[in-house]
Symmetry: D2
Subunit: 292 residues, 4 copies
């Protein structure tokens, strides 16, 4: 069963838009020394959408071989076609992935009815050598996976959990209520980490944990200790920086913040543009206000 | 400062669509003996939208005179026009209301810019003899009050709190973070009572508390005792019945549930229609499954 | 059968927020001399939402007695409750209204299912002494009346047409295809007058016709003459001023434009605020660019 | 300048999910004999989202070499990354494409601000050896390209037009009003072909023209002859079948309809599933009702 705090790691690019493996190695070493339970490579914040399958697999190989072996590596393998998705699941498993995170196909929104998505996920679950974690990300996909669908899928022995980034705390509660014993419900954003823990989330996959892995893990610890007061204080304090790097300014801000904190964020890949000088200053100010 | 659990009481109607004061009296007596901190009369669940100002004031008078004097009565006074809203605030105060709950004007959605809403609420706050509680209810109004607006309004000494029914737990957290000391942030739906308490909500105004006042209050008690396990268990158990009476089947289901539990729900007012026999059976089954 | 161009007349208010009947009379006289087929009193642009039933009926009486008897007067009577709606329909008919325009109840959005709305409109149609025109206005109500519902309602002999302000031209086409013989489908905004005529709309109710009645009527004339070139040119030219007074700046801008063109717009009623000086200048510039 | 009727051709797949070139050849020959002005390969209806860049280019090569040389071929080349998009534009041009149709990147919706999209399209326009047609498809991308953005882009000599599938006829009118002389505004769906022509659209790219190329072209002819009556009759008649194959049942229904009409639709690619028997019957009935 998956639990604890994971971070969907960013992918540093060079000015020429190729992956900057030197920077990646630097970051992996540092994340490996934090209390993080694991990482997700090729999540949304890893700019998976800008990489071909070939580029993805080369990156996965590198990450698995350069990250702390005691921690887990989950690989984002969701593609629009079922065929490409299952291909990536098999290859990622062969490279040593602990699990795969599968975004639903979403381009043909009108056709992604519950039956179609059910068949897709069941097919992927059958084909994948490692456990499947469902990835609900309506903000980017425009599709929200219904609780009824996830509930049915949770009965499959190879479907291990869900990362829910809907931000709907009632839905997250219903997922906990309606999914199979041992199925892991993860929060998908640090903005509601404490509320998610309060209703029984097993863990969380947080972009914010790229830059604040210790504090994100600290919240789980405080919660488990029953120290609600400090946990709440930390939750409220995190909101502003979290919104900046996962909402308002997105991946380029997350990369800029990494640079400011001794990690190496690198360039985003176009069409994403690096921050302007004014935007960098905003990130700097918010980090300082946060207290780092 | 307002805190604890309130319920927006339903208004029982007769077959002829007039208020059934006998049933109202019966319910008021019973609610008065529960641990509820107070009630809201003429909230959304009170079908305020179907009553004229004259009918509203007669009802307010009756409720205040027939409810436990040790508990608070908040009156819904929001209207489309600023003038009618301030009129109702003054009259409600004269009748003995402890506070007023003010829904924003929303018909001309495109024109309800932050400045317009700010001026409206400031004007109402100046005019109202009793404290104003803001009522954010995007599901019905189609308008979500921005945190920045509420933050500014919270500085007014006569604006005492907000009932936020957006269901966005991050927004609710931001409201707690950004509003003035002593300003009460209330959750607006029982579906996220525990998450709201976990981030510091002062209380909640819950339609579900019409039928389950004891259990809603029990959750606050469990939370304050640090009994997170039982609190979570109760939260998850409440979700289904709560969704049925505040979401899927709405006010007619809430009234039917009241009837089943020894309260007197009465008829809804048209265009709302009473439940069909099949729908009543659904409510019955869910109540039984809940354990009453 | 209703056809041609109507305008939903604005209601001029005084500084004290009472109806300015002097200004209303002035406007009625002038609109009476234009080629308009009729007017709608108490439509959205008439700020119906800010008036009590008593104020509404006094206004209706005044308008009917001060407008060109050769043109039609339609009265907006839609309220949240079925009872108040039927009351206003009867009273408006007694005062001489040619028809009533009925907005759907919409506050309890989740409960406004097709059955509920069907029963509501059928009840109103039975009760109203004059023909009912349905008013679909999703931008303000948050509810879009499905074609299937309108199709069924169109079979009632006292339901005469629909004003569709959804802006969805395919839906408007489907309404024309699926409603009963003799049922009038009206466009609800000048932004798509020509497209609506092209698919067979019987007419239009246009806020823009408050200030440009001649040009709106001219478009119908050009279309009927088969002069598509000039009709298109006029349609494109109208877009900017139309968006300004019905979208971007709304009713206060429409009133300001009336003032600039020799009508008397008067004050809007709070929470609506009069235009700032900068906004007035924008309206002036766009009117000049339009060529008046 | 691009004008007239194009169809975004479907891609027939085998049971094994490889492209069925035999069926493709059959269809190309038949479309080549219709009055269509051209085709779009790798549009949304071509299931572009389910093919790798390698598969795409092989298909483009085949199509260009097997289609009527007197008609135009536009190639869908939009990808999430700017780099892959420009790569496909260059390769498609090298294979003989007349133009490229470029969908905006859209996965990171929150980051696709006007500046980011402007830079992306300008970069693509500079890199592409053949004219760029912008592809606005909010239903699938979740992003609507603002008129102000398209207006600016239309000034670039290598940006030739836009296919607007928003269904917003006012926006389409504004695009015609605000884009450069010679820029082609195309309607993106047959549901509003006549309204689009009425406001001055240069043409249309219609999924429906896969199965009804003659009737779609006939509408343009009727419109140009000023035969509004027959044109409107045809428009209204087309709505039902158009909705079925582009809305309700989507690509699998379009493929089934092709099969029924002597074309060869082939299989859809997973996650899309072929129609059930009941759904096929619906398509059959609607085609018969249409009169084929």
């Amino acid at each position: 069963m998956f639990k604890g705090i994971y971070t969907p790691i960013v992918t540093p690019f060079t000015q020429e838009e190729t992956i900057d493996y030197g920077k990646m190695k630097h970051n992996l070493e540092r994340w490996g020394k934090t209390p993080l339970d694991g990482i997700v490579v090729l999540g949304s914040n890893g700019e998976f959408a800008y990489q071909t399958s070939e580029e993805k697999l080369k990156l996965v190989d590198f990450v698995i071989n350069n990250f702390n072996r005691d921690k887990k590596v989950i690989v984002g393998t969701g593609c629009e076609s079922t065929r490409e998705t299952t291909y990536l699941c098999r290859e990622a498993a062969a490279l040593g992935a602990d699990a795969v995170l599968v975004l639903p196909p979403h381009y043909y929104k009108g056709s992604m009815k519950e039956t179609v998505l059910y068949e897709h996920y069941m097919h992927v679950a059958e084909a994948s050598p490692v456990p499947v974690m469902i990835y609900n990300m309506p903000g980017n996909t425009g599709i929200n996976l219904p609780v009824s669908l996830v509930s049915r899928l949770s009965a499959h022995p190879n479907i291990a959990g869900i990362k829910d980034t809907s931000g709907n705390i009632v839905q997250l509660s219903e997922l906990i209520r309606d999914t199979a014993e041992g199925f892991s419900v993860f929060a998908g954003n640090a903005g509601y980490l404490l509320p998610a823990l309060s209703v029984g989330a097993a863990g969380a996959t947080l972009a914010l944990a790229n830059i604040l892995p210790e504090d994100c893990c600290r919240m789980v610890e405080l919660f488990n200790q029953g120290n609600m007061e400090e946990c709440r204080e930390l939750q409220l304090r995190m909101l502003e920086i979290n919104f900046l790097v996962t909402g308002k300014l997105g991946i380029p801000a997350l990369k800029a913040a990494l640079d400011m904190l001794g990690y190496q964020g690198g360039m985003p890949k176009r069409p994403l543009l690096p921050l302007s000088e004014d935007e960098r200053q905003i990130v700097k100010n918010v980090l300082e206000k946060y207290g780092i």
